[in-house]
Symmetry: C2
Amino acid sequence: MTLSQSTLDELVAAGVSVRTDPDVIETYSHDRSPAPYGLALAVVSPADTAQVSETMKWATRHRVPVVVRGAGSGIAGAATASDGCIILSTAHLNRILDIDAPNMLATTQPAVITAELDRAVAQRGLMYAPDPGSVEICSIGGNVATNAGGLRCVKYGVTRDSIAGLEVVLADGRIIRTGRRTVKNVSGYDLTGLFVGSEGTLGVVTEIDVRLRPRPVGLSPVIVGSFTDTAAAGAAVAQVMSANLEPELMELLDRRTLTLIDDFKHTGLEPDAGALLVAQTTGTSAIERAAVIAELFTTAGGFDVIVSDDAAEAEQLIEIRRLAYPAYEHAGAALVEDVAVPRSRLADMLAAVDEISARHGVTVASVAHAGDGNVHPTFIYERGLPEVPDEVMAAAEEVFRTAISFGGTLTGEHGVGVLKKRWLGEDLGADTLAVCHDIKGALDPLGILNPGKAI
Amino acid sequence: MTLSQSTLDELVAAGVSVRTDPDVIETYSHDRSPAPYGLALAVVSPADTAQVSETMKWATRHRVPVVVRGAGSGIAGAATASDGCIILSTAHLNRILDIDAPNMLATTQPAVITAELDRAVAQRGLMYAPDPGSVEICSIGGNVATNAGGLRCVKYGVTRDSIAGLEVVLADGRIIRTGRRTVKNVSGYDLTGLFVGSEGTLGVVTEIDVRLRPRPVGLSPVIVGSFTDTAAAGAAVAQVMSANLEPELMELLDRRTLTLIDDFKHTGLEPDAGALLVAQTTGTSAIERAAVIAELFTTAGGFDVIVSDDAAEAEQLIEIRRLAYPAYEHAGAALVEDVAVPRSRLADMLAAVDEISARHGVTVASVAHAGDGNVHPTFIYERGLPEVPDEVMAAAEEVFRTAISFGGTLTGEHGVGVLKKRWLGEDLGADTLAVCHDIKGALDPLGILNPGKAI
Ligand SMILES: Cc1cc2nc3c(=O)[nH]c(=O)nc-3n(C[C@H](O)[C@H](O)[C@H](O)COP(=O)(O)OP(=O)(O)OC[C@H]3O[C@@H](n4cnc5c(N)ncnc54)[C@H](O)[C@@H]3O)c2cc1C
Ligand SMILES: Cc1cc2nc3c(=O)[nH]c(=O)nc-3n(C[C@H](O)[C@H](O)[C@H](O)COP(=O)(O)OP(=O)(O)OC[C@H]3O[C@@H](n4cnc5c(N)ncnc54)[C@H](O)[C@@H]3O)c2cc1C
């Protein structure tokens, strides 16, 4: 540690904020997952891109592992400390640098909270579309690094689809720009897309050009329908998605989730429903499209189908969906999983989750970004245990393998982190994983960026 | 050549079609650009993925450069032969393997003609969105390798946005799968996005999972408006694009293009117009949105604004746009360029092109995918010259530099190929280009895939 202290002093001398208090280190060492974590040397908080570059040059010189940390809202254990690393916090890189309304672009530093970015551009009639459930507590840099999804993705795509370009500091401290402030660009390889979703293993994202969209105006009706089981709900989703109705939201809550929400908030949600669907339309002809969705819900066996275009009531209906996570956390410790399957296998996946849950005797409740076939089976277990219980991991493993066998993946939006690394080879195939390793080796030959995570 | 013949015999022994007739080699050695090309050893046409893999193993063993060729419609010189290479033609990989309507996916081999893929899925009420002007003469594999754009991109994005996954044969013959048949997927790096647009320099694409969309039903009105100059037309485009009207087409033709089309077909196009805009809307509320677009055209100074929802007449109006290339080719030899700028600089870019054209005394006519800020300044010069004249290249260089100085790029959709390689460093910056080289080195360490092109 003495050697480390003197090397750390070089960073301090370069003007970079370096904290080594055990409390601070502890706070910055884990994300929101139950993943185990190691002991970091320090929390380093550069003030600008140049300081990030200095930090990476220093880390390269001394072969110090660097774990980049955004807001720490991740649930895959991707931003957790490894022994002897520094935690590079982006916290001070927290300004929106430019809003270019005519080109529908904004340039931002990475620590800006996603919802704040969206509120800032809303004042110009624009929207930043990707809206993870964590939108109020996650950073846009973390969203880029995990290629975050969210509710509106069903209409507008994932984070990658909203990123025009990046400024990235490489492992050796070089600063590069990727992408372009144009709509189209095919010069050079798609480095922007490569850095998006790379979970801090290829570079530190220090600036982000995001693509914006016109903010929908007018009424944004919400459609809610109950179904006897997830199979019926899944069939309704399939019909809506193939009918050009462009829902902005198409969420599913399973029976156990509804029960947990009711236990938590006494919402009086239909106790007989095996599944609830929540959809929303926005923009031109939103009302007409909402009516068609309601009709499709009913035809598919939905009951208690409601369409509300009253803004406050619509917000309340969406709020039910947002209560899922708090309800899970109210019920116990929660391991949130994140499989994605081809949309046609959504109902099969939900049925498999129920079967696995019953067989292993573990509690699993699911919400799904149903329009995208992305299911979050959440394993709820006793609070305060040192690790995730074995039977929970065994059940989760079966869920992953089932998703893969359906042509799906073990992570739709949360990332691999440490928690899912063990299954990555199964998911990708050995040669595809090898290519990822080759790329990692080319960009970070010393392996100092987020070692042991993702790739 | 004798040595080469005996090594080629190994490929023949492996059952791969190998042709060495000079006529065949000549036919397959160039694309549609005026780029110079070298002398290939042979045209090799594998019958399936396994034979592609055999071919690449053979090429690795003998260090033979491999130029992959789709339909040869490229205009950047990306599929042109280099001395001593083999041309790997995808021609026999020409089947659509699967149309999965419920998941709105299709799986296809690379040599399928883009328009044929779209027609095949149309029978299921689906659409393959990207539609380069060359849609009837280019292959989907070539579209993937160039990240092709097109007219409908303004609504649906470029080729990359429609690709779910790939099968790729690597330089050493390994066969990998990238991506997933899911809507969302964050396991591993985005290799799909990386191979898209890589111009045959990272691997041979042997299978493609494309994302489809519901095919718009109902009327698809076309809106046409004349403007006194490109500045006024540019302003109209900006207004339409920021108004959530979701045009499926937003094309601009400049004065010289209108004149050349009139010379070619005597269309009687408005002789006083400095620019013509052609837009289209499709899907729900297409008629209402078309009316708003027409209004915005008029407010921005447009005249002779027409809206037509008669299918045949609408098709005729779009046909005007499609006449641009034939009209250019009718007028002389054509070097089609492809700059893209932030949308707000569209009018500035068109003005700069005119100024550069006048100063260098070369004829330049432009069409633009205006909604995307993607301009095709086409340099028209004397037919039959051995090379592109110096003054044309000098003017083109100025056009590139101007686009870059506007925050744009030298290629929006056609690719770098050989023709634009010289300016790639200026476009990307030295360090970003170096990262592209590092990735190329990691995936193709011997440098046998399309050497001298793009990266
Ligand atoms: C209640 C709740 C709901 C959630 N809902 C969703 C959801 O709907 N969709 C979804 O996708 N996720 C969701 N998440 C997960 C999480 O919020 C996202 O993964 C988010 O993108 C993480 O952002 P962060 O800033 O907190 O990143 P962190 O947790 O700090 O880091 C995540 C990863 O990004 C890397 N990283 C962060 N910043 C940078 C940077 N500037 N440069 C390079 N690497 C960087 C880290 O090294 C790490 O690998 C949810 C989480 C919670 C707690
Ligand atoms: C009249 C006309 C209009 C055009 N309009 C447009 C337009 O609107 N938008 C647009 O983007 N382009 C346009 N183009 C350019 C061209 O059609 C596109 O670049 C198209 O994508 C090329 O496809 P191709 O099959 O002909 O590829 P080729 O010309 O054969 O090859 C192009 C590149 O792709 C590589 N390649 C081809 N197949 C594979 C494979 N299976 N695996 C790996 N690499 C491969 C080649 O090595 C080469 O680098 C136009 C061309 C013409 C002649």
